[in-house]
Symmetry: C2
Subunit: 119 residues, 2 copies
């Protein structure tokens, strides 16, 4: 039987920004937590939507059609194939839900690319 996940406790286990940790699985999806701080790489995921829920702090998702700024208790789903650049000047803690095969930098791999890691 899977275990209960306490999101604050999971986030307290690491502090590197933009390095998600998988805390649970939902069918073939990962539930991930991530610390965001500063600028992430602009990228898209041609194969999937991407779910962001801010738990604390503030996260801006820059897209060609405009910016979306999320605070605690606010979520946004970036549509598949939509270029987006996450930015978090003051930092945030974020819950992600996406297919387990999803790589954080999508179609724009680089030094910010993170391997899948399970807490």
């Amino acid at each position: 039987m899977p275990s209960l996940v306490d999101l604050s406790a999971a986030l307290a286990q690491f502090d590197q920004p933009w390095q998600p940790r998988t805390v649970a699985m939902l069918n073939d999806y990962d539930v991930r937590v991530v610390h965001t701080k500063g600028e992430f790489a602009r990228h898209s995921h041609p194969e999937t939507d991407e779910f962001f829920l801010v738990l604390s702090g503030s996260l801006t998702i820059r897209m060609d059609d405009g910016d979306v700024t999320l605070g605690p208790g606010q979520l946004y789903v970036v549509p598949r194939g939509t270029p987006h650049q996450p930015s978090s000047t003051d930092g945030a803690q974020v819950l992600l839900v996406e297919p387990s095969a999803t790589v954080n930098t999508g179609d724009n791999p680089g030094e910010l690319t993170a391997e899948r890691r399970v807490v």
Copy 2:
């Protein structure tokens, strides 16, 4: 472009317990919010896992292997095919993520069965 979803605002639009509202879609999954209060029907979902994240209050998920009680910021994924009975004596506000075709009462339809409703 989809809209930002404020979970508190979405939950303020209705108050009937055990009647989820879909607030966003993630590929072929629904992101839903629900007020829980009292006892729900024991049921299982033979075809899918089910994600519960408590936003406020307290929710107990009774299963044959034991109970899981979730408070704010705690999540649990009920494995597919696992009988479970959600119970929430004092009430809770809960975020659900599950395939859009998932019916709340799973394999045990009855008076608590809710149609898919979008906020």
